[in-house]
Structures are given as C-alpha cells and as structure tokens.
Symmetry: C2
Subunit: 660 residues, 2 copies
C-alpha cells in the first residue's frame, strides 16, 4: 500500500480533515550547542530577566542593572508625599506589632529578648533598598525561631553556655543568608517550588501546633520544661508537674489570649478597623506591664522580661564561629531555617504582588532576603524574612512601598535608644499569649479540607507534614512532606495513565471512553492514549500495560464474537518526551504486535519524540506510512485497509462503525 | 453569548468536526475507595497476575497457585525426551564454562575458590524449580563478586580473618536473597526499573574496567596489591612495583587471553560453532594445568590454585552472623549486591524471553532469585544470579527448559565429588585471562555511541555511571547514575515544554509551529500547548512562562502592527494530571489574563484535570463555555466572537486566516 495515504488532494474544498494531506513532521535538526543553550535558558531563566536590557545604550544598561539589584533607585525618584503618609501610618502600625512579636520570638529561639528588636532594625533597612515587594514587612518568624532553638539546642545548651549559643545563632544566620543569596544568584529559585502548597499548609499548621505547645511553659509558669518539641514529650512534661502550675500566670495568659482573639475577630469582620487587632499586642504588653508593676506579680510566680540593654545593635562579625565542631551545626541550622524562611518570604511576597497586580522576580527576592540576613548576622540580628502576619497588617494598613519598613526600623531604633527600660515588667505570659494568638491564625484547617476535596494525594502530603512535625520534629515533618511529594512525582512518571479512546458520535474525534460516555469503539481497532513522557522508569510498565490492554480487548472480542483485533493505534499527543529505554520499549511492542499479527500505528507524535524515533531508526522499522497526524486519520486508514477500499472512497464506506 | 456554541446540529451530514456538538465531559464521579483500589492495582499489579485465576474451581485455583510459584509443575508434565537431549547438551556446555568461571569469580570476591563450585550446585537446582525463564543459566557474577570484596573488605580483611570474612559473605547473601524475595512478594519490582538501560550500560562497562584492572595482579604475578578499586590507586600500585612483575606469568596470561579472544571471534562469525568459545575456558584451564604440571612453573613465580577440598557443599546456616557491628556491613553489602544482581538477572531473563516469545513475570523471578540465594546462603554459596555470558551460551546451545541448570548442577556435583584434585596445578593467571575475556564483552561501546546519537542526556547518565565506577567506586558510580536519572525526571516535571501551535493549511488541526514549518498563526489568538502534568514543581514556572509567551506575542504584534491579542487558548491534551498548586496557577493565570483584557480558553482537558477543576470550582470561574473539545473549535469560537458572526455562518467567514 506504501505511501498511497499521503497523496495531496488536488482540490482544496475537502476541508473536513479526512484527506491525509499532512505527514507528521520531523522537526528540522538543530545544532547540539543551540538546543543545549535553549534548555539551559528555559531551566534557569524562564522569566527572561534580561529582556528589558535588549537594544539599550550601555549607559542605560548600567542604570537598569543598578535598578535591577537596588529597586529603590527605581521607585525613590517617583516617591510622593502622599505615598509617604500611607507608609508612615503602616510603618508605625507594624512597629507596634514588631516590638512585642520580636521579643516573643527571640524568647522562642532561646535568645536574649533584645535580639528581637535588633532584628527589626537593620534587616528592614537592607530590604527596603533591595527588595522588590511593596508589601513585605521584614521580621523574625516563629517557625524559624523554634527550629533554631531545637537544632542549636541539640549541640549547645542556651542556659549553660549562652554566649556560644548566641554566636552560633549569628553564624547560622550568616549561612542562611549565604544560601539564600546564592540560590538567587545561581537562579536556583525553583528549588523552593518543591515545597508545594500542600506541604506548606501542613508544615505551618504543624509548626504552629508545636509552638503553641511550647507556650504552655510560659502560660503555666513552669520552670523546667522538656527540650523536645514533639507533642508526646511536651504533654508528658506538662502533666508530670501539675503541682508546679501557677494559677496567676495561667489567668493572665488566658485573659490576654481572649483579648487578642476578640480584637482579631472584630477586625476580621470590619476590615476598616484592622488597626485594632494590629495594636492589640502592644496594648497587651503595656497593660500587662502596668498590671505587674502595680501588683508586684513578679514576686508571685509571674515571670517578667527583666532588664533590656539600651542602645543600638552592637556589631557581631567578630562573634561568628568558623571552627569545628560547632560550625557544622550552625551550617546545618542555617541551611534548613534559611530554606524555610525563604519559602515563607517568597510566598508572602508573591501573594500580595498578585493581589496588587505587580510582578515579583523570585530569584531577585532571594538575593534581597539573603543579603539582609548576611548583613544582619554582622549586627547582632538573627534570621529574618517576611512573616505573613506582619505583612498582612502592613498591606491592610495601606502601605505603598518598602518605605514602611524604614518607618518601622526607625520606630524600633527609637525604642532601642530610649524605651527599653519600659519592658522590664512585661510578663512573659503576655508574650506567650501573643505567640499563641499569632499561631492560631496559621492553622488553616479550611485549606486542608479543600485539599481533601480536590486532591486526596495532596491531602496525604499535607497530613504527612503535619503529623511529622507534631509527633516527630520540624525536620522530620519537612523531610517527610518533601519525600511524599517527590515520590508522587516519581510515581506519576513510573505509572502513567493509558486510556482507551472511542469515537465521539458524528465526528472524527477520539476521546477517553471513561470521560465521554457516548463514544463508540471501532471494530478491529484498539486505540490507546499514553498520558506521560516515556522514560526508563515507566517503559517496562507501559510494555506490560499495553500487552494487557491487547489481551483484554482480544478476550472481550472473542467472548462477544466480534471482528478480531487487527490494529493497535497509540495516540502519542501527550507523550512529551522519550528516552532510549522508551524507544527500546516501542521496539519490543512492535515485535509483540507483529508476532500476534497486529499492526502498530502511531498517531500525532510530538517534535521531540519524532526526532528521537528518527535518530534511533525506529521510523524505518515501523514504516513511515503507519504514522498519522491524528487518530481520526489513522482509524480511517486502518479501516480502509480492513475493507480494502481506496482512500478516495465515500465517507459512508470509510466510517461504517458510526452507530447513529 | 452563553451556551450558544453548544447547540446540537439537527442534521448529521456536517461531519467536518466544525459544529460544537460535544461538550468537554466531566467524568462520572467514582467512590474514593474504588478509585483508590484502582490506582493501587495499577501501581502494584500492572500485569494483572491473578487474571488466569478468574472463574476457576477452587481445586484448579490451588493447582494454578502452585504452578505460579513452582513453574516446574507446569512444564515437567509436558517434558519430552527431545527436550532432554537439548538440555543435556546445553547443560554440559554451561558446566564447562561454570567451573572455571566459578573459581575465578570466587577469587575475585576474595573467597575460597571452592565456593565458586558450591555456588554452581545448589542455587541452579532451586532456580530450576521456581524460575520462569527457560534460558537463564544460574551462577555467580563478576560485578557482585567484586562489590562483595570491596564492601566487606572495608570492614574485615579476607587474609587476616578469613573465617569471619567468609561468614559475612554468607550473611550478605542471605540478606540479598531476603531483599530480592521480599521485593518480589511486595510487588515492588518496579524499583529495578529505576536502573535505566543507560545506567546499566555505563555501570557494566565501568565494573568491567575495574575488574580487568584488578586482574593485573594475577597476570603480572604480583604479591601485594591495593585494596582500592579506582583506576588511579590500581595503576599507582601496578607501576610502583615494576621490579616485581613476573614475565612467566605475563606470557602465560597474554597467551591464554589471545586464545580465548580468538575462539570467541571465530564463534561469533560462525554461530554454529558456539561450543568452541564455550569450551575454551575449560580447555585453557586444562592446558594451563598440564603446562604447569609438566614445567613445574609453580616454582617459577606462577601462582596456582592449590588444594581444593573434595565433597559437596557443607551446611552454613550456623555460620551466619547476626551480631553487631559486622551484621550492618553484611546487610549493606547484601542490599547493594542484591539489587545489582537482581537487575542483571531480570534483564537477562527478559531479553531471552523476548527473543523466544514467551513472557516473564518480573516479580515472580525476583522471588525465585531471592529464594535461591536464601537457600544458597545456608549451604556455603555466595551471591548468584543469571549472568549474561553464561545464559547466552545456554541459549546458543539450544536449551529448552530450566533442566539445563539441573544438568549443570549435576556436572558440578560430579566435579566436586571426584575431580577437584585435578585443579591443584591450575595457574591463577589462566583464571585472570578468563575473567578479562569475559569482561571485555561487557564494555558495550557501541551502545554508548548509540546513546550519544539518540539522547544526549542518557549518554551523560551512562558516562556518569562509568566515570563514577572507574574513578570512584562501584557504589559511587551507581549512586551517581541513579541520581542523574532521577534528577532528569524531576527536571522534566519542573520544566515542562510549552509550545506555540499554528494552523495546518486546509485543515482544522493545530500543531507545534517548530515541528511543522507550514503552519499559519491565527490573528488575535495565541495558542499554547502544555506538554506535561501540572504539579507544584512546575506551577510557578508555567505561570511565568505563559506570561512571557503573552508578552512576546504582544511585542511581536505591536511591532508588526497586526491585530492586538484577544484570546489565549491553552491546549491541555498533554496535561495528564494536576494538583492543587496547579489549580492555583490556573486561577492566577486567569486573573492575569483578565487584567490584561485577554480571554483565557481551554481546549481538550482530560478526565483527571476536568474532575479536579470542577471540584475546585475553577470551571465556574472560567465559565464552562470557554472550554472546548478541540483547539479547532476553540479557535473557531474565538474567531466568531472577534468578528461577531453567528456560529452557523459559512466556513469562508469563520476561517479568514487560511493563507492558501
């Protein structure tokens, strides 16, 4: 029969797509270097950041380059008084949140409380210059603080050797910053993408649960507490010392927690009054301090912050630890906390950018966040990023640019210079209440329900992260979630879907018979669609699965006494790529079908697949005339051959299977 | 415009696929348990092994079950004298290869030479009962032997503590067998698929190179030799003691190697004389032994095997080591050698089954290979599998069933009982020559060239394995190759292809403009095809890539002054699946296009995708009327709306972009 199917029709009026006027093309060969360059570009520069540099003068290029790394140069010239008013209000609002939160999270990290204030001074200034988000409010975060405490705590005790512990925290921050900045510079930002939304939901909820459990120490006024973070150790520790519980502390804690939750609830219902919930933590701190000062509760089991040193951040580059064996712990802590903080910062920045319709370059953000941590580690700051809660307040307060971070930094600076003594009587239990209130907002059970409804596997990933964090540790949960996610990807590749296609009535379209209930099958022809790239990981499976489809089809036909199977059409539309194992699989399938007296037909192989099948000489083996542009054309050709009709026969003859 | 596009045509004669008579269907909902069971079945039982058990009586089921685990019950009743004649010849042929190879490989593993004979006696008998391959010849293999030596040798010296070393080798074999059998029983055979063809080519060539380098010790008659296997250590060790080289040994080695290669070359050219190359090793051993006996060369620096114990395998279950710290080494060695041996055995069995047109169940084979190693470890055998060289000889000799393994076992038994003293004068250098000759056949440079031509990435994987094995160690090479392979899969998922589609002239088909040179684009419409499932790992990338395509298209249109962009059609045919991150991505893309005044249109989403988009309520957001069965229909509808025509207008109007 040869190439009969490929005759070009002489007239153009046959537009039904029945005439096989198009061969499946083999893409023109490309030099190896060019295609290699292309894939490198797609892998590392998918957003084409150099696009705006094209066709510009060298001078303009320099300006654009500087603006690329220091976005402040771009927006500062256009800055107006109106913008400043908005940024001033939002800056003061987030400062009132930053001060108590900073102190709380520093306590969570087992670091001196003053570090929380230091960390809200230098890093926001750096970010204001380098960051491209207009809404991100820089500060420390609970999860990274907890992780720092648990990871460094395994090596060095914060109570027995506070100086070394402090220095290790700076070192970890330095390495976190170096990692973040280099990920950005090396355009490896996509590593963060491997933390899926489901992972983050589960992980955040788990971390929030763990942090809340840790606060039982403060709320119950306990002196001794376990160093583990898993729920079992913590509950055992809490309930083994019921006689040590202090009711004064408990009442104060529950009271302030109630106050914070009420204000949040109120602000949520009336978004105009966002500042009520934003001011609530500072109000609690002031109220609590006044209360303790007046009642001398610090003598009745209510622990207070105590003395805070006055003055700005002391330099700390001399304190960085570069000697074994401690450095390794610091590096490890830095890597893990750095990645997690980065993921939060990027996600928060992106969400608000999406909301306000501007674009954020993930890799550039990483450089900004990394730099602010590197600089921070040299000035007595520990790990900072863009926490969700603070950024949301910033957004609600109507911030316009990163200037709100500068305002916050100045407010914190004034606090550091003049107001630290006021925090002497602040009860720790208020800080615990502030943390608990913030953490309750991170347990997004609605998102988990949504995951369950839409995608069961994503729900498993989410719960894996949650259970891992709560019953194991933060690291265990993270590793578990990433492992499940990657396993899912591998499983998808290892076990691709193959579906049987049927003819949609009165059309030349062929679709999944399970999805479309009204399809009819073509006698003597089995049409399969392969739904994934064909790689070593799935080639054996596909070989077995295809023979099983053929077996099942032949059994069915035999039992119903219909025409025996003659053709197997593989729809390759969804096969994006193939490797040498995949090609070997095709050769084996071809042998099998030949032996069983069946003819193998391919429909619509893509560019990459055609290129490789051609190089591997498979096209010669199967015969170019058995490769069609669409399933419809392939079926028509098969049918033609089954009934030994000529390709120009009438449609009624060539489609006898239409069951009208 | 609403649902106007979905009116069903009243007449059936419009078969061109232009009328939008089919909506994209949402597959009927399935109970969670059912779909979960289905995916479990696809993952673990893709070959449906229980198919033949359906609709059978309980008694017949029992027989089938027994036959399933002991295939001998299936073929023995049909065994004929003619089969036996063929099996006898092939059995004797492989025995003549097994005896010298067994001794050689045992030396390679630093084990007593007699173990090579023991291992060719018990395991083949077990395999003959349980194995489903008719061509596999059981025996020890060079790579696993070398690995055993290098991994156990790190913990225990074979020369200083030979008894412990021997016991650890048995223990490693036991764990290898347990791992192999349980992989098969748990239907986890697909783990072996992750060793791709490219990995195995590179790995085998690397291992062969390393084994050949190790033979320099025997050929040059060196007494001291490095324990490392990497090329640099070995060459340094060889060339640092040039004064110790023994010319007698060298001449003998090169002479026999030449003889072996000549016979192999001859047999390859004339397949009828396969037995010449099969008998050559035994002939070399006999010739070498006679030569040494006559010339007393053992007194002139030619090392000989020495005394071999007479008698059958002594039981060794009492020797298994289950105490720390050695057990961990044994378990590790067992795991790695077990997986590698399994991969070789399965691949060899499959290749020959493919050749003779019968089917092999990989999981069943794993149970058989595992059991033979478990039993072997209790009777003084070390790790065995189905080596390629021996199985190829078996196949060429015309074996019919696994009975040839029984014949080989009996021949080895007779040797053990009566002939071991004859090996006293066998020179070690002959064994080295036999190993080198066998290993040269494993360096498949032609396969490497083929990989380079067809798939550059597979070539990189292959070279990674080779370089890792030769310059690092066998484990390093293996880990490197698997890591590169998995990275490739992840990279494929993380960076899917998106291609622009164009209209093929005189048709309603839309294809990749890079593959098909004669396509024309549709004014005002951008058609993109996404070539992979949409998962968390690629959703950010896809979002950025889609906006970049839109940017580029708008720039192009602006510079050429054409109609501005109005529609973006996403062809979803190749999107096999989606997760919640992917759905979020679509929501963001929809927001972006809305903001830019563009309309997003989906074409041909699959069953899984439609189900999830529906559950996530995305279908409501985009509007069901913007989802079409084919790109052609989507384009027609867009075009219709662009020119405010009615869907029933003539074709000339609805396809004004045809450039004839």
């Amino acid at each position: 029969m040869g190439n009969v199917d490929y005759v070009y029709p002489s007239s153009n009026d046959n537009q039904g797509g029945h005439a096989h006027q198009h061969r499946v093309a083999i893409p023109p060969p490309q030099p190896f270097i060019k295609s290699f360059k292309n894939s490198l570009k797609e892998t590392f520069f998918p957003d084409d950041p150099l696009r705006q540099f094209k066709n510009q003068s060298p001078c303009r290029k320099l300006v654009l380059g500087l603006q690329y790394f220091l976005p402040i140069l771009e927006w500062a010239p256009r800055y107006t008084l109106q913008f400043f008013k908005a940024d001033l209000i939002s800056g003061i609002t987030i400062a009132s949140l930053a001060i108590p939160q900073g102190i709380s999270y520093a306590k969570l990290a087992n670091l001196p409380p003053i570090l929380g204030l230091y960390s809200s001074f230098i890093p926001p200034l750096v970010y204001a210059m380098m960051g491209s988000s207009r809404d991100l409010a820089v500060g420390t975060v609970a999860v990274a603080s907890l992780l720092t405490a648990s990871m460094l705590g395994q090596e060095v005790s914060a109570t027995e050797n506070p100086t070394l512990y402090l220095h290790l925290a700076f070192t970890a921050t330095l390495f976190a910053g170096l990692l973040q900045a280099s990920l950005g510079l090396l355009r490896l930002g996509f590593i963060v993408d491997f933390l899926s939304h489901a992972t983050i939901v589960g992980f955040m909820a788990g971390a929030a649960t763990v942090v809340i459990l840790q606060q039982l120490k403060g709320v119950l006024g306990l002196e001794h507490f376990t160093h583990s973070t898993d729920i079992i150790s913590v509950l055992r520790s809490v309930f083994s010392q019921t006689h040590e519980w202090r009711w004064e502390s408990g009442v104060l804690g529950v009271g302030f927690l109630f106050f914070l939750l009420i204000t949040r609830y109120f602000s949520k219902r009336r978004p105009k009054f966002f500042w009520i919930s934003a001011m609530a933590p500072l109000t609690s701190v002031i109220l609590g301090s006044v209360l303790v000062y007046l009642t001398h509760a610090e003598k009745h089991g209510v622990q207070v912050i105590g003395n805070l040193k006055k003055g700005l951040n002391p330099p700390s580059f001399g304190d960085l630890v570069f000697t074994s064996p401690y450095m390794i712990t610091a590096v490890k802590t830095g890597m893990i906390t750095g990645i997690i903080a980065l993921a939060e910062g990027i996600a928060v920045g992106r969400s608000f950018a999406m909301f306000k319709h501007y674009h954020i370059d993930g890799n550039k953000e990483m450089v900004a966040i990394g730099t602010m941590n590197i600089v921070g580690s040299c000035f007595s700051c520990y790990l900072t990023t863009g926490p969700f809660s603070r950024s949301a307040v910033n957004f609600n307060a109507g911030c316009k640019t990163a200037m709100s971070n500068v305002v916050m930094a100045i407010a914190v600076m004034l606090t550091l210079l003049f107001l630290t003594p006021l925090f002497h009587y602040t009860p720790l239990v208020v800080l615990s209440a502030i943390i608990i209130a913030a953490m309750l907002g991170l347990i997004d059970y609605e998102a988990a329900i949504h995951l369950w409804q839409v995608d069961k596997f994503d729900f498993v990933v989410c719960m894996g992260a949650y259970v891992g964090v709560v019953f194991g540790s933060v690291e265990v949960g993270l590793v578990l979630a990433v492992a499940i996610s990657v396993l899912r990807l591998l499983l998808f590749v290892a076990r691709p879907k193959t579906v049987v296609l049927g003819n949609l009535p009165n059309s030349t379209h062929y679709r999944n018979v399970e999805q479309y209930q009204n399809t009819s099958n073509v006698p003597g022809v089995l049409i399969l669609e392969i739904d994934a790239p064909i790689y070593f990981a799935n080639s054996s499976y596909l070989r077995e699965r295809i023979s099983r489809w053929i077996d099942e089809e032949e059994d069915k036909l035999k039992s119903s006494g219909e025409t025996s199977l003659q053709y197997v059409i593989l729809d390759m539309s969804a096969v994006g790529n193939i490797d040498t194992s995949g090609i070997t699989m095709f050769e084996e399938v071809l042998k099998t079908t030949d032996r069983r007296g069946l003819k193998l037909v391919l429909a619509n192989p893509g560019a990459e697949v055609m290129k490789k099948l051609n190089k591997a000489k498979f096209l010669e083996k199967i015969g170019q005339e058995w490769i069609y542009l669409t399933v419809g054309e392939a079926v028509e050709a098969c049918n033609c051959k089954l009934h030994t009709c000529k390709p120009d026969s009438t449609k009624e003859e060539s489609q006898p299977w239409n069951n009208v």
